[in-house]
Subunit: 333 residues, 2 copies
């Protein structure tokens, strides 16, 4: 087999079949994928969630992960944020002529591992090849189907005054892992992407608290600030944040300072926001802490300052957290 | 609003929200998409089909269509070929910095029209922007969910000896529309892409004949020859074709001859193959002819020459139709 991807690998002919058989079907095999029809046949009943994301992260391999696992975890997490149990993913690839087949295989292996870790199956997909200079190695789209969990009732319309806002993990690690690698920066203490699957944590939350969990959202592109502003603009409520409760790892903080970035705007991959009834906030925190001791209650919703996110510092100072204006970190996911 | 896409349009911030609101949500609005969560909430029960395809066609606008409607019809047709009624699509975009926003809007409008024509809804999606020279204007991924039609039983495992093979339309039009445009060729009689939705024809076939329809497949990349070879290799049967029954429009034939291409390897978008019981072949043909008078019965399956596709000419000569080797037409879909 060749060492690099060429246009024949996207032609629909023998070379493409060879690539699919030797790498994709070889690693990702399962009975549904094996049928190799134009689509997968699935048996599903009830309410489902359906989500799609393209991944164009650069570099493709970064500290703590690569584009393959990111593409699996990204869609798994989007389905989880709908209160669904992720079940099936599609995998569509846009490869650039000249991309290394051994790197390609590493990515597919990582997709396999990430799928197994998340308990999902890759059931259908597509492979296209574009000429050199019309892509950047590999772009991946994953779309996914999940089954809505029993008693789940997630939606911005369920957010009310004085509910609690929790965060499962420190912020800005993914974005700064990518940026420090792009800029060739070194810090005391490695900066690793936080990419991971959140589905089992979400499942536990909903199994335990049902419709007392009102909203879930992973804080990816645009970071925590963007998600919070989406919530305030969609719910017509305000959010009051406690600055000292928002965790940022020390080396991530240093990197942000060096590059003049505010961590609340930096992308995350394994960080999510949970809005729940106030009376269960400590129990929710307990469950989040089982996964990550740095989980915290970062704020509450309020009828005051509707439409605005207000951050209160440990010293009582307050400032508005605005939506992201301009481009902070291109191709972060 | 700017005239061209820039990196801010993919940042997750205000510019991205503006682009989504003014163009995507503006044209594609529906109640499910409006929820704007990480995924769409859908109510489905029973067996479904799930399919995904990325579209990288170049040029983006071609005679008879553009990448937008191609992306809708492509996934609609893949679901139809599973014997499903297409219902919901996702739409994920990879835009290149510098791409014209007015062309972008034309494509989104065309997506809207194609969705309406096919009776599907765009319910979720994603937008990414890559730097100039890392893409080619616009790449589109659509994934889709369809509900398996009652009495549908489509699968390569249902193909048996002496079933009939039908084609709904003349072949090679899409590929030659793209190629003649790329090469700047002119012919008597315009060559238009055959891109269209096949779901209503398929629905009628399955409603009328149920499980007497055994296999459906659209002959896209790699053309008719590739689909036929996939069938013979997957079913361990042979296929016997009648050369004079395979229709090619005269101007398409001229273009193929000029470029030294065999029409059976050229990509189609609105052409599909139907394998059914022999005793209903004329009735199936009747239904196909309602849509296109050039539909025809092009061959039959056979236990003879298992694994091979044999073409018989009007004069009785026979030759093997091999799988496509090498690249014929890059970025045709």
């Amino acid at each position: 087999m060749e060492e690099n991807i060429n246009l024949q690998h996207g032609s629909g002919g023998e070379k493409m079949t060879e690539l699919l058989n030797k790498i994709i079907f070889h690693h990702l095999d399962n009975p549904i994928l094996q049928e190799r029809h134009d689509g997968a046949f699935l048996d599903i009943s009830g309410k489902i969630a359906f989500s799609s994301d393209s991944f164009v992260v650069s570099p493709v391999f970064f500290k703590g992960g690569n584009i393959g696992e990111l593409a699996v975890f990204g869609t798994v997490n989007d389905l989880s944020m709908c209160g669904a149990e992720p079940k099936y993913l599609s995998l569509s690839l846009i490869l650039e002529e000249g991309f290394s087949i051994s790197e390609f295989e590493k990515i597919i292996k990582s997709i396999k591992e990430a799928s197994e870790k998340s308990g999902v199956q890759i059931v259908t997909g597509d492979t296209k090849v574009v000429e050199r200079g019309k892509g950047d190695g590999i772009y991946i789209n994953t779309s996914g189907i999940g089954v809505i969990l029993p008693n789940s009732k997630i939606g911005i319309q369920h957010i009310r005054h004085n509910q609690s806002v929790l965060l499962n993990a420190p912020i800005a690690s993914h974005g700064m892992a990518i940026m420090s690698q792009r800029e060739g920066l070194q810090f005391d203490g490695e900066i690793l992407s936080d990419t991971t699957n959140l589905n089992f944590t979400v499942k536990k939350l909903i199994a335990t608290f049902g419709d007392k969990i009102h909203f879930l959202r992973d804080a990816t592109r645009g970071g925590l600030a963007s998600v919070l502003n989406e919530i305030t603009s969609g719910s017509h409520l305000g959010i009051h944040l406690y600055e000292d409760k928002i965790q940022v790892k020390p080396q991530v903080k240093s990197a942000c300072e060096l590059l003049g970035l505010d961590p609340v705007y930096v992308a995350n991959e394994g960080v999510f926001l949970c809005i729940c009834d106030s009376d269960i906030r400590n129990q929710v925190l307990q469950i989040l802490k089982e996964e990550n001791p740095e989980a915290s209650i970062i704020g509450h919703t309020t009828e005051e300052h509707a439409g605005k996110v207000i951050m209160e510092s440990a010293f009582g100072g307050k400032h508005i957290v605005n939506p992201l204006i301009g481009e902070q970190l291109p191709r972060i996911c």
